[in-house]
Subunit: 145 residues, 2 copies
DNA sequence: TGCAATTAAATTGTAAACGATTTAAAGTTA
DNA sequence: TAACTTTAAATCGTTTACAATTTAATTGCA
């Protein structure tokens, strides 16, 4: 690559990732609107559908989001009746997040979303898996600090 | 893939893209802090360093950002003295964006960022290019609506 | 035990990000 | 030419996102 091309927008890996992220999340909207939730709510529920209850900090780590982001998100989800937040008995600093019945029931309605979204990416399941694995590998090898 | 695995967080392509995007942008911070700009300012400058002046709408299209996002971004960059915004003579609805001398000069200071960032991804140039091209292809084939 | 250090979540301030609406200019047509 | 439509950017409201700080609980240790 020519030296002067390094600053071209279309050569930036980050911009490609960043734009794909936003555009894919935009495609979730019609599906998530039906459930009355946002993408952030959705990924929060994905974690909780796997692990319920879960400590606040663990949830944040899974989602790569910090307390400044998650505290208001979880409060709004609590307000919607999707989950409850409670202090842990053995350590009053920690918060435990649990799904409500409503939060658990949403899982059924969400069950068809992943395949419909895969369809919208126009990728074969194999291509999607390969790309996802590449990104996971990249994520792992990024410097933490 | 087992049917019940579709809703697992780690199987979601979107979440992998979304998380990579945020983590890579976080790695830009030390570099951009030195220039006193944000990542959004940076990609705006990347476009302007290639095309100057440029119509507002064209800039938005390049960046996949809408007027609601870009109007305040460009106003803040104007305030910093990086660019100027002016109505077009032949069509008073349109805004033309031009770099200032300061905005042009930043390009030199930014010249080393892309290679330093590539280094931080721990990817070979070939791997990075392949991944970027895959994402561009995906972006192109996503439904517009 | 008592106090410093650490840890966890909340809070604060700033900057995106985007859908929906508004305002104003330009184009279209009856 | 006047009314309607379209287009462009700005504005508004809501939700993320994160760095930095604060508050409160716990842990370590002198």
């Amino acid at each position: 690559m020519n030296n002067k091309d390094y600053l071209k927008l279309d050569n930036q890996l980050c911009f490609a990732v960043y734009t794909c992220s936003k555009e894919i999340i935009r495609l979730y909207r019609p599906f998530l609107d039906k459930l009355g939730i946002t993408y952030t709510h959705y990924i929060t529920l994905l974690v909780l559908w796997e692990t319920d209850p879960i400590p606040f900090k663990k949830l944040c780590n899974h989602l790569y989001l910090d307390s400044g982001t998650m505290t208001p998100v979880l409060k709004s989800m609590e307000k919607k009746g999707l989950l409850t937040r409670s202090r842990m008995e053995n350590d009053e600093r920690q918060i435990s997040i649990s799904l409500t019945q409503l939060g658990r029931e949403l899982k059924e309605q969400a069950a068809t979303i992943p395949l419909q979204m895969l369809c919208r990416t126009q990728l074969s399941p194999e291509e999607a898996n390969t790309l996802r694995d590449t990104l996971h590998r990249l994520l792992k090898q990024l410097p933490q600090a």
